[in-house]
């Protein structure tokens, strides 16, 4: 759930989502859910002419499982805080009885 919370802090920031089929879509992150499905607004496709089917689209819903990378705005990420939270989550998961 850590990354769900993390992505929620990035709502309204501009991100670029790279899909497993190599399309990169830049847009404003509008919402994210527990599966890391993503909604983007005011989208712009990098290399638009290669993917013409998105040329009249303004916002998209992307299934979480097809996302390869999300390029984040560096300024919006508190790396130290994220590292800390990741460690804490890992520690809490390690101590959990299975």
């Amino acid at each position: 759930m850590l990354f769900f919370s993390f992505f929620k802090t990035l709502v309204d920031h501009e991100v670029t989502v790279e899909l497993k089929n190599d399309i990169s879509i830049k847009g404003t992150l509008k919402s994210v859910d527990q599966f890391l499905n993503i909604k983007l607004d005011d989208i712009q496709v990098v290399e638009e002419l290669k993917y013409p089917h998105l040329s009249s689209v303004k916002n998209v819903f992307i299934r979480g499982s097809v996302v390869r990378y999300v390029h984040l705005p560096g300024a919006a990420v508190d790396t130290a805080l994220l590292e800390d939270a990741t460690r804490r989550e890992a520690a809490s998961q390690a101590s959990k009885p299975r």
């Binding site: 089929n21 002419l49 689209v57 303004k58 819903f61 992307i62 097809v66």
Partner: protein, 165 residues
């Protein structure tokens, strides 16, 4: 949360909806709307969408209904194929799409409705299909060669055996 009124849904409801008894409330109780997580659904039921399926097909139609799995009903659907510098449309009608096949959903901006970049020329469905098949064959060939080369260098190729466009 956005406006989640289901008032304007068609009477048939979604694929998993039970039609309320006659005279019953036209709107679902709030607990049945709990699955409408913010990112997993689209707001209203009359939007024109482009839907990219897992097998790479692109469907353009009017969204009429959906549920929490992104199972969708599309009306007046056309299938648009782009190959190199041409495209073709095939009229398909009504679609019920199982959610797992949905890769991407895009709402079409009605200001730029049906805008296709100028360099794309419309051809017949058969012509586009033939080109697509040819292109797919070539791609398969080059992918195989690439995978072989990468494998010899100790790399494993991503999503092998999975169809992804």
């Amino acid at each position: 949360m956005e406006n989640l009124s289901l008032q304007d849904l068609p009477p048939a409801g979604g694929p998993n909806h039970v039609q309320p008894p006659p005279g019953g409330p036209p709107q679902l109780p709030p607990q049945e709307l709990a699955w409408l997580t913010e990112a997993s659904t689209v707001r209203t039921s009359t939007e024109k969408l482009v839907l990219v399926l897992r097998d790479g097909r692109k469907l353009i139609g009017v969204l009429r209904s959906w549920d929490q799995f992104a199972n969708l009903v599309l009306q007046d659907t056309i299938e648009r194929t782009f190959v190199q510098d041409v495209y073709s449309d095939i009229v398909r009608g009504i679609y019920l799409v199982r959610g797992e096949n949905v890769l991407l959903l895009g709402e079409i901006d009605l200001d730029k409705d049906d805008y296709i970049p100028e360099q794309f020329r419309k051809v017949s469905a058969e012509e586009a299909h033939a080109m697509k098949v040819k292109e797919a064959k070539e791609k398969q060939h080059t992918d195989k060669a690439k995978a072989k080369k990468l494998h010899s260098l100790g790399f494993e190729v991503e999503h092998t055996g999975e169809i992804l466009f």
